[in-house]
């Protein structure tokens, strides 16, 4: 069974790019573009990995991750790769403090993303 990844991101082009890269690597890719109900969607789909954008419409990626980590169950240990377009050091520090498994700033290279997701989810 192939590993599943949920991309929470509001830019359609970026979703498409990530989907293309990970699908070719054998991942099952799904996406969600809204921050408001992202936590419910994540819990419902229970992916092996979440790629989470910070600047989402409705709710910030930090808040979503905080809620995920606060609850018990799968959410607390779910590997989360955070993406941000702001790319400042304090954003990275904040992400790590909240409990992001990996932090990556945009624009990223495709190889980087592939390496990260494979490292986060052991086969």
């Amino acid at each position: 069974m192939s590993k599943s990844v949920l991309v929470v991101e509001d830019e359609p082009n970026i979703i498409e790019a990530i989907s293309f890269i990970l699908s070719r690597d054998g991942w099952h890719v799904s996406s969600h573009s809204n921050g408001v109900d992202a936590v419910e969607v994540i819990r419902a789909r229970a992916p092996d990995l979440v790629i989470l954008d910070v600047m989402l419409p409705g709710r910030s990626g930090y808040d979503i991750l905080r809620e995920l980590r606060a609850g018990d169950g799968a959410g607390a240990s779910l590997p989360v790769l955070m993406l941000t377009a702001r790319g400042q050091t304090k954003d990275r520090a904040l992400a790590e403090e909240i409990g992001a498994s990996r932090f990556m700033s945009k624009p990223f290279s495709n190889a980087e993303v592939l390496e990260a997701v494979n490292a986060l989810v052991a086969p």
Partner: protein
């Protein structure tokens, strides 16, 4: 006929008796049995030194020459006593609370303790009193002469000058004996006051005796006497016509306050402020009695005695001519009493002023070291100075008598004196009722008034040609007729006295008021001014600290208040241990008081500490100097603390400014961070797509042609988006910095709208436009391209965000209040109320739509409209999104 020797013997005996009275009174005062000495009757009788030989002898002469005018001299002081009681009380209160020793002291104290002013007042007082003393010498000399010649027509011969000199010397010796026997800090002379009270009774009785004799013995009863007064030509008439009447009343009232001897008995010798109340009715009664028989004696003298008799001597010559030697001697003693009491008190008052304000300052300045303040030493010098001053004052009086020839009417001489000392009135009254009165004004007024008095009244009084040549009297000095002594500034025809008084008082008061208003008084002057003017608030009780010894409890309370409870307790415990009374309060020994004072002076200043300890110990009243020193210290402390206050206020202000600046910077920094963060996001997002898809195109050779072209399209679109973002950023930056150049031209509104619609591609039918071309046919002066940019933004937004099924954008144009209004209203759901306020901010993208914009459009629109002189705003409540563009008035172009 009484021999001259008998008279001299009588005088000696009378003097000795007076001396005994004074001596006894002083002894009684020393022993503390001075109750009866301090009675209001004694005070009132002492005030009667106002009635001098002038009154005793001169009033009859005055009446014989000028009728009832002599009354003015008594009406003036009576009016002051009765009608101006509260003013007198104020002067007395000031005198007592400030421990004033003379009129010079009062005026100089009031104007900042100016010694210059004290010297000026002293000099004026000495010069002004000199004729008055001469008057007394003249009357005593004349009275001797009357007895000596036994001839009613006796006039002064050559030997009278010698008599006058002897009289002056005798009076000087008498005054020295009386007035300078001891020094009192308050300048009070119980003995002298008692003696002049006795003299007041003697002179009143003598005058009444002569009067009764004249009316009932000589004149045959009251009715006949009154008939004779009526019969005498014009004597009983009131001569008010020439202004002398009111002038004399004023003069007498003023002199009553300002004559040095009157000030001495009225203020300095005052034992109790309440005595004034008795004196206010008793004194007018006394002078009324004194003047009661003046008119009968004058009339009797004129009708009984041979023509050419000196009317000033009627009081003596009338009984003498009738062989009533006993009555004549009594009358002589009455006159002698009047003269001596005046001379004694005047000389004491003047010597106090001269020694305090002239001799002592010079002596102190001449002392090599300032350490010569050994009290015995100074005491000796002061007494010597007083004695020399008394001799000097009497010698001056003699000199005046000698120069003026001794022939003038007594009243005329007295009035010269009155008008001289009346110069003190403006600074005196101005000083106690007007806080604005200033030293420079007082000096200028006094100087000018004194000069005019000298020129118009004093110098001419010696007689024509004695001091001022006859030529100058008639034509003025150097031929300047407006400087004639009797017609100053060309005012002619006035009575010389009224003329002199009018000018000197007018110019004196004018200069005093004018210069006071113009000058800026020193702090000391202002302080003293406030104390004098508000004396009744400053000195609640006229009584000083009396009796009582220090209570340790009181000292403890005060020490705690000043040092703090703990410090005070420590100090008192230490002292108690030293005294061997642990656990109790220490005895207030002198040593302890010194220690306490030293401790206190550390916290409140030496003068204050001294005054406070002195107050509790009750040893002495606080002196003027103590008060001044206290005030100075307080002022310094206040100055210091107000400086501190100002500094701390400044610090607080600076801190507040810094905090505000810091907040502003923080805010700016937050805004800048947010902006940079936004830009970063807006730039990185398209770059992410571009990078990712270009890597896919590079790394995946197996892509289908369709996918390849799709990804290339994405890269292309995102590159365009990036470019547009950069363009917008630059545009906004230029607009915000005001560096934009507008291309003003005349354009038709409809054309601009057409261009905008075309540029947005809105003609494709996805958004239907409702326009009214007739309304759009308006020519305006504006930058057409920039205005089109705004319109494009608004139409594009409607295309992007209008969520109606069949989107419709209505563009309406109208004019209101001279402005051109273009509304863009669509039929979508509009902008949420919470977001309406911020849609014109940078990066304020509405909702989550991906419309390709960076959220800078409306911010740019706002900047553009600002530059074009118009505005753009959101119109709430229109059903859909509604924007209003307001353009400045299209001037008169609408008609085209």
């Amino acid at each position: 006929m009484a021999s001259l020797n008998l008279l001299i013997a009588v005088c000696m005996a009378y003097g000795a008796a007076l001396f005994l009275v004074a001596f006894g009174a002083e002894r009684a005062a020393l022993r503390g049995r001075s109750g009866w000495l301090r009675s209001p009757i004694v005070y009132t009788l002492s005030l009667s030194i106002y009635c001098t030989a002038w009154t005793f002898y001169g009033a009859v002469g005055f009446a014989a020459r000028s009728g009832l005018e002599y009354m003015t001299i008594y009406i003036g002081p009576s009016l002051v006593m009765i009608g101006w009681f509260w003013g007198l009380r104020k002067i007395v209160r000031i005198g007592r609370s400030q421990r004033i020793t003379s009129v010079a002291d009062l005026i100089s104290s009031r104007y900042g303790k100016s010694n210059l002013l004290a010297v000026a007042v002293t000099l004026i007082a000495v010069v002004g009193t000199t004729p008055y003393i001469a008057l007394q010498l003249q009357s005593v000399t004349q009275s001797f002469a009357v007895f000596a010649a036994a001839d009613p027509t006796a006039r002064m011969g050559a030997e009278s000058q010698t008599t006058a000199l002897w009289v002056a010397a005798g009076l000087a010796a008498f005054t020295v004996l009386f007035g300078t026997r001891n020094l009192d800090a308050n300048e009070r002379h119980h003995g002298v006051v008692m003696a002049i009270a006795v003299e007041a009774v003697v002179k009143l009785c003598a005058l009444l005796a002569v009067g009764i004799y004249v009316v009932w013995g000589l004149g045959g009863g009251l009715g006949e006497t009154l008939a004779r007064i009526d019969a005498s030509a014009r004597l009983g008439e009131w001569h008010i016509a020439n202004g002398r009447w009111s002038g004399l009343i004023f003069l007498a009232g003023a002199a009553f306050l300002t004559l040095p001897r009157m000030f001495q008995v009225l203020v300095v010798e005052n034992e109790d402020e309440r005595h004034l109340r008795t004196a206010s009715w008793a004194f007018p009664g006394y002078v009324m009695l004194m003047s009661l028989f003046v008119m009968p004696i004058a009339v009797a003298g004129l009708s009984t005695l041979p023509r050419g008799s000196n009317p000033d001597m009627f009081v003596l010559t009338l009984p003498l001519s009738q062989g009533q030697t006993g009555l004549a001697v009594f009358s002589f003693i009455g006159g002698f009493s009047s003269a001596t009491s005046m001379v004694i008190v005047a000389a004491i008052a003047l010597s106090t002023m001269v020694s305090n304000h002239i001799v002592m300052p010079i002596w102190l300045k001449l002392q090599p070291g300032k350490g010569a303040m050994v009290s015995g030493d100074v005491r000796h010098v002061v007494i010597l100075a007083r004695r020399l001053s008394i001799v000097g004052v009497l010698f001056l009086g003699y000199l005046y008598y000698h120069l003026s020839g001794g022939g003038a009417a007594l009243a005329a001489i007295g009035l010269i004196s009155f008008s001289g000392v009346a110069q003190f009135l403006p600074p005196l009254l101005g000083g106690i009722f007007w806080r604005g009165g200033a030293r420079s004004g007082a000096l200028a007024g006094l100087g000018a008034g004194f000069a005019i008095w000298l020129w118009c009244l004093f110098l001419p009084s010696f007689g024509e040609g004695v001091v001022i040549p006859a030529e100058v009297m008639r034509h003025g000095p150097w031929g300047l007729s407006w400087l004639r002594p009797y017609a100053l500034f060309g005012i002619e025809g006035l009575d010389p006295l009224v003329h002199g008084v009018l000018w000197s008082m007018l110019i004196n008061s004018g200069l005093f008021a004018g210069i006071s208003l113009l000058s800026f008084p020193s702090p000391m002057e202002r302080l003293q001014g406030a104390q004098f003017v508000n004396i009744f608030q400053h000195s609640a009780s006229p009584r000083g600290w009396e009796g009582g010894t220090a209570q340790s409890e009181d000292l403890m309370v005060m020490a705690q208040r000043l040092l703090g409870a703990r410090e005070a307790q420590k100090l008192f415990q230490r002292e108690a241990e030293r005294q061997g009374v642990q656990g109790y309060l220490p005895e207030p020994t002198g040593e302890f008081l010194q220690v306490l004072e030293r401790e206190l002076s550390g916290s409140v200043g030496a003068a204050t500490a001294h005054a406070m300890v002195g107050q509790i110990v009750g040893r002495a009243a606080v002196s003027v100097e103590d008060l001044m020193a206290v005030a100075d210290e307080t002022a310094q402390i206040m100055e210091y603390s107000s400086q501190l206050e100002a500094k701390s206020a400044e610090l607080a202000r600076t801190a507040r400014q810094l905090r505000l600046a810091n907040e502003k910077l923080t805010q700016l920094s937050v805004q800048k961070d947010a902006f940079l963060s936004q830009i970063s996001h807006e730039l990185r997002t398209p770059m992410t797509s571009i990078r990712s898809f270009s890597e896919i195109l590079r790394d995946a050779p197996d892509l289908s042609g369709e996918a390849k072209s799709k990804y290339a399209q994405i890269i292309h679109d995102e590159a365009k988006r990036l470019t547009r973002l950069l363009d917008d950023l630059l545009d906004l930056s230029v607009l915000e910095n005001g560096q934009v150049t507008l291309n003003q031209s005349r354009v038709r509104l409809g054309d601009v709208l057409d261009h905008a619609v075309h540029a947005t591609g809105a003609e494709d039918g996805r958004l239907s436009l409702r326009r009214t071309p007739a309304q759009e046919d308006i020519w305006i002066d504006t930058d057409g391209d920039r205005l089109a940019q705004v319109f494009i933004n608004l139409i594009a937004n409607a295309r992007k965000y209008c969520d109606a099924e069949a989107p419709v954008l209505r563009i309406s144009v109208r004019r209101a209040e001279g402005q051109l209004i273009v509304d863009f209203i669509d039929n979508g759901s509009g902008v949420e109320t919470s977001q309406q306020a911020m849609i014109f901010e940078k990066f304020a993208r509405i909702g989550d739509q991906k419309a390709g914009g960076a959220g800078l459009g409306l911010a740019i629109c706002r900047e553009i409209m600002l530059r074009l002189g118009g505005a753009i705003s959101y119109l709430p409540g229109q059903g859909g999104a509604a924007f209003r563009v307001v353009l400045p008035p299209p001037e008169a172009l609408a008609a085209q």
